[in-house]
C-alpha cells in the first residue's frame, strides 16, 4: 500500500484526478458543448434572446462556402511563419545550447524577456517599425527592393513578420530543451566515424532534436493559425485571417451560429493536421 493510498484509501487515483477533472468539466467541456450546440442552432435568433438548437448542419456548409479564403489564409500565413520560426529558432537554440558558454543563461532570459510586455503592445510597435515612413521601408526603397509607393504595412509580409516575431519564443524553448540534452560527444563520435559537418547535423543532431522540432512547430503553428491580432494591427481587410472573421461574426455581426461553426471547423482542421503530422514525424512517444 502506498502512502497515497493510506491517506486517500482505495480510490486514491480518482480522488487525485477529481479537482482537475472538475475544472476541465466546467471550463472546457461545458464551453465546448455550448459551442457545438450554438453551431447547430438556427441563425434566425439573436445573441440577446438566444438560439434554438435545430441541428442545422447547413451552418457548416455556409461557413465553409463564405469564409474558406480566411481559413486558407490562416493556414498559409501560420505555415510560413512557422517555417521562418523553425529556421531562426533552430539556429538560435543551437547556438544557445552548444556555443553560448557562460552567456547561456543571459541568452535564455533574453528569449523570454518579451513575455514581460503585452502581446498587444509588442505588435503595435511593429506597426511603427514597418510604417510607410519608417527606416525599414525607406531603406528598402532606396535599395530599389521596394517600389517608391510600395509599403510593408497592410501587406501579408507584415502579418507573417508579426506572427513570426510573436511566436518565435514558443519555437526556441522546446528546441533548446531537446538540443541541450544531446551529448556533444555524439557529435565527436560522428566526426570520428567519417561524418562531415553536414552529415553530422542531418544524421545525428537533427533526428535527436525532433521532439523539440515537433513541439516547437505545434506550439507555433496552432496559436498562429487562430491568431487575429497580427492580421488586425499589421494587415489590411485583404489579409484577414479566420480569427478576424470569427471575432467579427461574434462581436459586430452577432451571428453566433456561423461563428461557432467556423470555430469548430478551425478546431477540427487543426486537430486533424496535428495528428497527421505527429504520426508522420513518428514521435508520438516523444511528445
Amino acid at each position: 500500500m502506498t502512502a497515497l493510498q493510506r491517506v486517500f484509501g482505495r480510490n486514491a487515483a480518482y480522488i487525485l484526478i477529481a479537482p482537475a477533472a472538475l475544472w476541465l468539466a466546467v471550463f472546457f467541456l461545458f464551453p465546448i458543448l455550448s459551442l457545438l450546440t450554438t453551431s447547430l442552432s438556427d441563425p434566425a435568433g439573436n445573441p440577446v434572446t438566444g438560439y434554438t438548437l435545430t441541428w442545422r448542419v447547413q451552418n457548416y456548409v455556409e461557413a465553409l462556402a463564405d469564409y474558406w479564403p480566411y481559413l486558407g489564409r490562416s493556414l498559409l500565413y501560420a505555415g510560413i511563419a512557422t517555417f521562418f520560426c523553425l529556421i531562426l529558432g533552430y539556429v538560435l537554440a543551437y547556438a544557445i545550447a552548444f556555443k553560448a558558454g557562460r552567456f547561456k543563461t543571459i541568452m535564455l532570459v533574453l528569449v523570454i524577456a518579451p513575455f514581460f510586455t503585452s502581446f498587444l503592445v509588442r505588435t503595435l510597435s511593429w506597426k511603427l517599425i514597418l510604417a510607410d515612413n519608417g527606416w525599414i521601408v525607406e531603406t528598402l526603397q532606396s535599395l530599389n527592393l521596394l517600389a517608391e509607393d510600395g509599403r510593408l504595412l497592410a501587406t501579408p509580409v507584415a502579418v507573417v513578420a508579426g506572427l513570426t516575431y510573436n511566436f518565435l519564443p514558443f519555437m526556441i524553448l522546446p528546441l533548446y530543451t531537446s538540443l541541450e540534452k544531446i551529448d556533444p560527444k555524439l557529435n565527436e563520435a560522428a566526426a570520428d566515424l567519417y561524418a562531415n559537418p553536414v552529415q553530422r547535423f542531418w544524421r545525428v543532431i537533427w533526428p535527436l532534436s525532433l521532439p523539440g522540432v515537433v513541439g516547437g512547430t505545434l506550439l507555433t503553428f496552432i496559436p498562429a493559425t487562430g491568431d487575429y491580432i497580427n492580421a488586425e494591427l499589421l494587415g489590411s481587410p485583404n489579409t484577414q485571417m479566420v480569427g478576424n472573421r470569427i471575432q467579427a461574426l461574434f462581436t459586430t455581426v452577432g451571428d453566433y451560429p456561423h461563428a461557432a461553426a467556423l470555430s469548430v471547423i478551425l478546431m477540427a482542421m487543426i486537430v486533424a493536421m496535428v495528428l497527421y503530422y505527429v504520426r508522420k514525424a513518428g514521435t508520438e512517444d516523444l511528445l
Binding site: K185, E188, A189, A191, D192, L193, Y194, Q199, L208
Partner: protein
C-alpha cells in the same frame, strides 16, 4: 630510411604539445612511437594529459605544437572524419536513435561503402552481438554497449584504434572479462590499439607496452614487467603497485658491465643494488623494494637471507586477506615498511602483532631512485 621501414605504419608523435587558452599545458612536448599492430597503453592519473593526447590523435583537438604521423602520412591537421583512426569513447557515445546495426554501419555508410550487410554481420559475430542487432542502445547492458562501441569503431578497420577508458563504466567482474575479450579481439584483428586508462592493472594485463604519463610527460615506457620490476621514478614505483622507499647514501660502485653494482648505506646496513637498476647520479637516493619481495621471519629462527638483512623490526599491523597477508613492519629507524606474504601455510598461522622479526630481500629486486623526487608521488588517493 629503408624500404621496410617505409612500409610500416607506426603511429609517431613528435614534440606534441597542447596548451589551453587558460595557460594550462596538458601535454608537454611528447615524443612517442607506437609500433604498428601493438597494444599500447597510456597510463596515468586523471589530468596527466593522456586523454588530451588521445583526442589530438583522433583529431578532436588540435595540438599547439608538434606533429602526428601514421607511417609517412602527416595527419597533424587532418579533419577527424578524414583520419584512418577510430575511437571507442568513454561512456561509448552510441547514437541513441539508431539500432545497434545502424550504429555499427554508421562509419562504412559515411565512407560510401555500398553493401555493409556482410561487414556488419561479421563484426557483430566477432563481438557476440548478433542477437542485439535490431535493438536500441538503451535496451542493452553496459557490457553489451561497450562491445557495440568497439564494433562500431572496428568495422572501419582503422589503422589505429583509440580506446578512452573503455572499461571504466563497467563493474569489476565484467571489466576482467572484457579485458580478456579486448585482448583476444586485438590479437584477432591485428590493429594498433592505443588504450588510455588510469587503472594500472588494466594497462598491465592488456598492453604489450605501457607509457606511464604524469603532468603531461611520459615518466617511463616499457613492458609491464619492466615497469613493475624496474621503475625509474618514484611516481612509477608508487603508481604501478606499491613500493617501500627508504632513504640511502651511496658509498661506492663496484664491478663493470653486467656485474656492476652500487653499494648503498641504508640506516647503517650496506645493501647492494645492480647498476642497471640505479636511476640516480647523486650520492643519495631512495632504495626501493616491492612489498612482496620483502621476507620476514620471527627473530631467532633461521631466515633465507641471501642478500640484504636487517634485524630489530617489529610487526605493527597484520591484515589477513586470504591469499596473502599484509604486514606493516616498524624498522629500527622508525619507518614502516610493507610486506606481502603469500599464505602458503608454511608458517601455520600469522605472525602476531608485536613480534620481533628479521627482514631480508634479494639484492636483485631492489632499485635506487633519485632522492630529489617525492617519495609520495603517484600514490593514489582512495
Amino acid at each position: 630510411m629503408s624500404l621496410a621501414e617505409d612500409a610500416r605504419r607506426d603511429l609517431r608523435l613528435a614534440g606534441l604539445t597542447k596548451r589551453y587558452p587558460n595557460g594550462f599545458v596538458a601535454v608537454k612536448s611528447l615524443d612517442l612511437v607506437i609500433p604498428q599492430g601493438s597494444f599500447f597503453a597510456l597510463l596515468g592519473p586523471s589530468g596527466c594529459g593522456k586523454t588530451t593526447t588521445l583526442r589530438m590523435v583522433a583529431g578532436l583537438e588540435g595540438p599547439t605544437a608538434g606533429t602526428i604521423h601514421i607511417g609517412d602520412t602527416d595527419i597533424t591537421h587532418e579533419k577527424p572524419f578524414k583520419r584512418p583512426v577510430n575511437t571507442v569513447f568513454q561512456n561509448y557515445a552510441l547514437f541513441p536513435h539508431l539500432t545497434i546495426a545502424e550504429n555499427v554501419e554508421f562509419g562504412p555508410k559515411r565512407r560510401g561503402v555500398k553493401d555493409t550487410a556482410s561487414q556488419v554481420k561479421e563484426i557483430l559475430e566477432l563481438t557476440e552481438l548478433t542477437e542485439q542487432a535490431a535493438k536500441k542502445p538503451a535496451q542493452l547492458s553496459g557490457g553489451q554497449q561497450q562491445r557495440v562501441a568497439l564494433a562500431r569503431a572496428l568495422i572501419n578497420r582503422p589503422e589505429v584504434l583509440l580506446l578512452d577508458e573503455p572499461l571504466g563504466a563497467l563493474d569489476l567482474k565484467l571489466r576482467r572479462a572484457m579485458q580478456i575479450e579486448l585482448k583476444r579481439i586485438q590479437e584477432e584483428v591485428g590493429l594498433t590499439f592505443v588504450h588510455v586508462t588510469h587503472d594500472q592493472e588494466e594497462a598491465m594485463t592488456m598492453a604489450d607496452t605501457v607509457a606511464v604519463m604524469n603532468e603531461g610527460r611520459i615518466e617511463q615506457l616499457g613492458t609491464p614487467y619492466d615497469l613493475y620490476t624496474n621503475p625509474h621514478t618514484t611516481f612509477v614505483a608508487n603508481f604501478l603497485g606499491r613500493s617501500n622507499l627508504v632513504k640511502g647514501t651511496v658509498v661506492g660502485r663496484e664491478g663493470t658491465g653486467a656485474d656492476a653494482v652500487v653499494k648503498v648505506d641504508m640506516h647503517g646496513t650496506v645493501v647492494t643494488i645492480k647498476a642497471s637498476r640505479v636511476h640516480t647520479e647523486s650520492s643519495e637516493g631512495w632504495i626501493g623494494i616491492r612489498p612482496e619481495k620483502v621476507l620476514i621471519q620471527p627473530a631467532g629462527t633461521p631466515l633465507d637471507a641471501p642478500g640484504n638483512f636487517f634485524s630489530g623490526a617489529v610487526v605493527s599491523e597484520a591484515s589477513y586477506m586470504g591469499v596473502s597477508t599484509e604486514y606493516h613492519l616498524r624498522m629500527p629507524w622508525g619507518q614502516e615498511l610493507i610486506c606481502f606474504e603469500q599464505n602458503t601455510g608454511r608458517r601455520g598461522g600469522l605472525v602476531a602483532v608485536g613480534t620481533q622479526v628479521d627482514v631480508s630481500w634479494r639484492p636483485e629486486f631492489a632499485f635506487l631512485l633519485d632522492s630529489s623526487q617525492d617519495a609520495g608521488a603517484g600514490i593514489e588517493e582512495e
